[in-house]
């Protein structure tokens, strides 16, 4: 029986990008359905009753919500020669720790860069840089976060790269100057087909930010 895989998503979402990349890495054919977050569709409201958020992965009619959880699910349902998570328990726990760190820290500080002014904006920028230096230190001299193979932590973070140009413009700083090794890592990641297919153009995101601010009622 053929699998039916639907992804409810929103093109600029760095969280949705994770699931897109994971599905592409596994060569899973999926039906991408763009959602209007300001006019939520019945399917979105039904499939993510609790949070009403994207991305939602619907596999043979059953919803899986939360992008990191979707990544693990995809890895378990479509095991392949190149797993997204390591098989060693300690390395798995280590990868999940960093995925959780990215989830807890990156979005919040980034949001203050484009969405806040004055002190809040400065604090966001400072925190964003600190967080990325921590990530850069964790990456070290490895090719990818997991070592030689592209995986879970890389996928958890790379979506934010499409927003970097926007952050730099609104924050008036250079991420490459602050974290050169991390930028080098992003360049390696975007060479992968799964990533190139899943990330929107940075320019498109940068153009979108003022529209997003208006929709959110931020000046």
């Amino acid at each position: 029986m053929a699998d039916e895989v639907i992804l409810l998503d929103f093109w600029p979402s760095m969280f949705g990008m994770r699931t897109r990349i994971a599905l592409e890495e596994k060569n899973v054919i999926f039906d991408y359905r763009e959602q209007d977050l300001w006019n939520k569709s019945p399917i979105l409201l039904e499939m993510n009753l609790v949070h009403k958020k994207i991305p939602v992965l619907i596999h043979n009619g059953k919803p899986v919500c939360e992008s990191l959880i979707q990544m693990e699910y995809i890895d378990e349902v479509w095991p392949s020669k190149t797993p997204l998570l390591p098989s060693d328990p300690y390395q798995r726990a280590h990868a999940k720790f960093w995925g959780d760190f990215i989830d807890k820290k990156v979005y919040g500080s980034a949001r203050l860069i484009w969405g806040a002014k004055g002190e809040e904006h400065e604090a966001g920028k400072k925190e964003f840089i600190e967080i990325h230096k921590t990530l850069e230190s964790e990456l070290g001299d490895k090719t990818y976060f997991g070592g030689e193979t592209f995986g879970y932590v890389d996928i958890a973070l790379i979506g934010f790269y499409s927003w970097f140009e926007a952050y730099e413009k609104f924050g008036n700083f250079s991420i490459e100057v602050e974290c050169p090794k991390l930028i080098a890592w992003t360049k390696r990641c975007v060479k992968r087909e799964s990533v190139a297919k899943s990330l929107p153009d940075s320019e498109k995101i940068t153009k979108f930010v003022p529209e997003l601010k208006e929709k959110l009622g931020i000046k």
């Binding site: 609790v50 939360e66 959880i69 693990e72 378990e76 300690y90 798995r92 720790f97 921590t134």
Partner: protein, 223 residues
């Protein structure tokens, strides 16, 4: 494996610390419990969890594992041949368990914690509404996950039971402090029965703090 091989940095009152303790009990893994003093952080904690500086931290042959739900999964993966499975075996059931555990931490517990800090009547009403909505979600989740068995994980307690059950002592303390029944048998009968079963589980009983002791501790830290 020698018990000195497994250490847990934590504190008796922390519900997050309770999670790996229950998991280690389920797997019959002996461990050394290194208790932090409330209000200060040991050198070992700061060295083992430099990023968050928080408990619990599991040290397995001196290698640290951080974040309570991640530690529970690590325990399940590492001692997989010992004791019952903590996570379900089906990928969809696993995704559900992880989803609800994340919901509990990000929404439900945040609401519970804010109840103790809530100021006026309006604020309290808002928090009660949030918790009641959360409880209704969890009641349904329990019915869906348990499939007629006593626990979220079926016949034995598992990941999601642990993720929610660890808060039961704090729940009771909060109920006493605000004089309001948060987990109501009338509104959430299945969840209430589950709570009773959970607290009586042999892996849970030794690590669940007594309500009176916890209430006294709560008074001290919130004063």
């Amino acid at each position: 494996m020698a018990s000195s091989d497994v250490k847990l940095i934590g504190a008796w009152a922390s519900p997050f610390v309770m999670r790996p303790r229950i998991a280690l009990n389920l797997k019959s893994v002996p461990y050394e419990f290194l208790q932090e003093t409330f209000g200060s952080k040991s050198e070992l904690l700061l060295k083992s969890n430099p990023v968050h500086k928080k408990i619990p931290v599991l040290l397995h042959a001196d290698k640290p594992v951080c974040e309570s739900n991640i530690i529970v999964e690590y325990i399940d993966d590492t001692w997989s041949s010992s004791g019952p499975s903590i996570l379900p075996s089906d990928p969809y059931d696993r995704a559900m368990a992880r989803f609800w555990a994340a919901y509990i931490d990000e929404k439900w517990f945040v609401a519970l914690r804010s109840f103790l800090k809530a100021g006026g009547e309006e604020e309290k009403k808002a928090v009660i509404a949030q918790l009641e909505e959360g409880n209704a979600f969890l009641e349904k989740a329990f019915i869906d996950c348990s499939k007629g068995k006593p626990f979220f994980n079926g016949d034995n307690i598992g990941y999601l039971d642990i993720a929610l059950g660890c808060f039961l002592a704090w729940l009771r303390v909060t109920e006493l402090a605000v004089s309001h029944k948060i987990l109501d048998e009338a509104k959430t009968p299945s969840l209430s029965k589950w709570a009773e079963n959970f607290c009586n589980d042999p892996a849970v009983k030794p690590v669940m703090p007594e309500t009176a002791k916890l209430a006294e501790f709560a008074k001290k830290i919130f004063s």
